[in-house]
């Protein structure tokens, strides 16, 4: 299809559409542009599904920008892994857009430029997932990073701007290290095209390739907020408005993880696997530290943000296991499980904060009685994070344990099990508080139904995905 009908190539339109509605939203002015965004995202969902079906049927999709071909031009390519990431991005962004339209009241300073920033963020993510060029990937990283910082800072007080500034430094240092790595690769091999580099970077790669690989991965680890580089995440994700926290936790941190995986399996496969156990060690530390901080957190959104730190840790447990194909399946399933569940959880937290007018776990007493849909959504998302069957989180953790035991790494299986128990502690801590009787004086502000139901849809999807997980996991079977 991409050859016969270039005008309707879904790959190109997944980048063009969000750029178009983002720009339209900017021209329309402050606070405007929700409907073009929702219409655009609905179309993008359909495009991503179309692409995933084609790739799932054994094909790959490519787009030779400018018609030059690598290494002179830039190539875009979609394999199973990219198709899965594209699908997740559109599937999370659409319900969140519907949520955000009700969340930001007219005149809310936090929502002034939400729509154009979100459009550019989604365009950057889509462009990142399809790019097959290391320098082009850097440009997409900058687009994603700056849009995310803008969303965190929007309309906030001094504390929120400080969190955004810290996030800006982290993301700039991260992409700076990545760019230095790309420059070294270009210096050593004369190309930045992934396909061209693939046969060139061999086991006897020069020292420069090792330094480059280390710099690129270190920069991306900082952007993924892997322990101990997570310092910027809790204030940024915990302080932003709920739709922004959801977008950031569900999608943005996954983009740099995707890129690490892409480099690991692709152009730097001769270099990076030497660091596999270091990655797993940091992943395990992230699970314990993030969960512990979530258990101790006073504020609800801070708790959810620390839970993101912990859940990202699972993604890094797969690196020593990559010899088995199940490891990549587990990684993709965990990306989906956490993406959907965390988006749903932050969305639910946004409802609770709007209704109770405060952001502490202690203030949730009586929430189950008054906001049953929202608390049910929170519970479903929590189920996925804990890894209870039949949720997608269960499937992801099961796959990691299976791959670990098959290769004799029982220690990884033990970490996964312990992480599930710790997740249960912080999720049940919130639920227990919500089941308590409300103080007689407590009043709840009315909350639009759309907010409750879009949070519920995301959380329910994270559980139901577990029932249809096989099709999804077959998708990244074809990583090229």
């Amino acid at each position: 299809m991409s050859m016969s009908e270039p005008l309707f190539d879904p790959l190109a339109w997944l980048i063009l559409l969000p750029l178009a509605w983002a720009t339209l939203a900017f021209v329309l002015g402050p606070g405007r542009g929700a409907w073009p965004a929702i219409a655009g995202l609905a179309t993008q969902c359909w495009l991503a599904l179309d692409l995933a079906q084609k790739v799932g049927a054994g094909g790959t999709a490519a787009h030779v920008v400018g018609g030059w071909g690598a290494p002179l031009g830039i190539d875009l390519a979609v394999d199973g892994l990219s198709a899965a990431m594209l699908l997740l991005t559109q599937a999370v962004a659409l319900p969140l857009a519907i949520y955000a339209r009700s969340y930001f009241k007219p005149g809310d300073p936090a929502g002034t430029w939400f729509w154009p920033l979100t459009g550019f963020l989604i365009a950057g993510l889509n462009a990142l997932f399809v790019s097959a060029d290391l320098f082009n990937l850097y440009v997409t990283l900058e687009l994603v990073g700056l849009a995310a910082v803008g969303l965190v800072a929007a309309g906030g007080g001094a504390q929120q701007v400080a969190a955004a500034l810290r996030y800006l430094f982290a993301t700039l240092v991260g992409s700076g290290a990545y760019l230095l790595g790309v420059a070294l690769i270009y210096g050593a091999y004369g190309t930045v095209s992934i396909a061209t580099l693939l046969p060139l970077v061999t086991d006897d790669a020069p020292r420069l390739a090792w330094i480059a690989g280390g710099l690129m991965v270190a920069g991306l680890m900082l952007k993924t907020a892997l322990f101990p580089f997570h310092f910027w995440l809790p204030p940024a994700h915990g302080g932003a408005p709920a739709p922004v926290s959801a977008l950031l936790s569900a999608l943005v941190v996954k983009a740099s993880f995707y890129l690490i995986l892409r480099l690991w399996l692709g152009p730097l496969q001769a270099v990076l696997p030497a660091f596999a156990w270091l990655m797993a060690l940091l992943g395990a530390a992230a699970i314990f530290w993030g969960s512990w901080q979530a258990i101790r957190a006073v504020k609800l959104k801070r708790l959810i943000a620390y839970s993101t730190v912990a859940q990202l840790g699972y993604l890094f447990l797969i690196f020593p296991l990559l010899a088995a194909p199940g490891a990549i399946h587990a990684g993709v399933m965990q990306v989906f499980a956490h993406g959907l569940a965390k988006a749903g959880m932050f969305a639910a937290a946004g409802v609770l904060i709007k209704a109770t007018g405060q952001d502490t776990v202690a203030g949730l007493a009586g929430a189950v009685e008054r906001l049953p849909v929202t608390m049910f959504a929170f519970g479903l998302a929590g189920m996925t994070l804990m890894g209870l069957p039949p949720s997608s989180g269960f499937l992801a953790k099961w796959q990691i344990i299976e791959a670990a035991l098959a290769q004799g790494h029982w220690i990884i299986a033990a970490v996964v099990l312990a992480g599930g128990l710790l997740a249960a502690v912080y999720v049940l801590r919130v639920l227990r508080q919500a089941f308590l009787m409300a103080p007689a004086s407590a009043t709840l502000a009315p909350v639009p139904r759309t907010l409750e139901w879009s949070a519920f849809a995301l959380a329910a999807a994270s559980v139901l995905l577990g029932l249809r997980g096989v099709e999804l996991m077959q998708l990244p079977g074809a990583v090229t």
Binding site: F26, V27, V65, L72, W113, L117, G150, L184, T196, R207
Partner: protein, 220 residues
Amino acid sequence: MKRRVLVAFVLTLALAFVFLLAGAMLDLGPTTIDLRAPVAAHLAQSGVTHPVTAVLLNYRGYDTLLEIAVLLVALLALLAVVGDAPVPPSRAAHPVLQTLARLATPLMIVVAVYLLWAGAFRPGGAFQAGAVLAAAAVLLHLVGLQPGWSRPRLGLRIGLAAGFVLFLAVATGLLTQGSLLQYPPAAAGVLILLIESGLTVSLALILASLFLFLSREEGA
């Protein structure tokens, strides 16, 4: 004392990194792939005669398209933070400075137009031209002839986005040729000049905005 140890530690690490990098770069041989040959070989079809412009607007024009989006996002992030504060009245500078700025501005506009036009065959182009125009706006602001901006009105928003919209429209339209930004060689020169002209105006406005929207902070 503790701070000193920390500074020494960081400095040592940085120095070690520099030596590691320099050492690794010294034993580099010639690269496997040399892109200078293909860049030169396709120059005739690229629509321009300067290799750097050919790379930026044609071979890797897609990078440039996304970079313009990055600049717009930087401005959006700034607008999202500063909100709607009133603009302080600008202080007029010394009359001599004002006269100099009035004299320099037309010259800077001429230089910008020249840079834009020269980009096709020598170093220059939309980024440089836009930067000179933006500098002219900043100069006028510093001498008190151009007040700071408080909020982007419709006209300004259209101007800020126009260059990107034009670029995006050309990239999309060229899908009919087979792929994004696939210029037909005969029309490449005209299309690139069109894109660069639009970008000059919008980049000038974006760069000037980054300064003029922040200027109200000084009064607050």
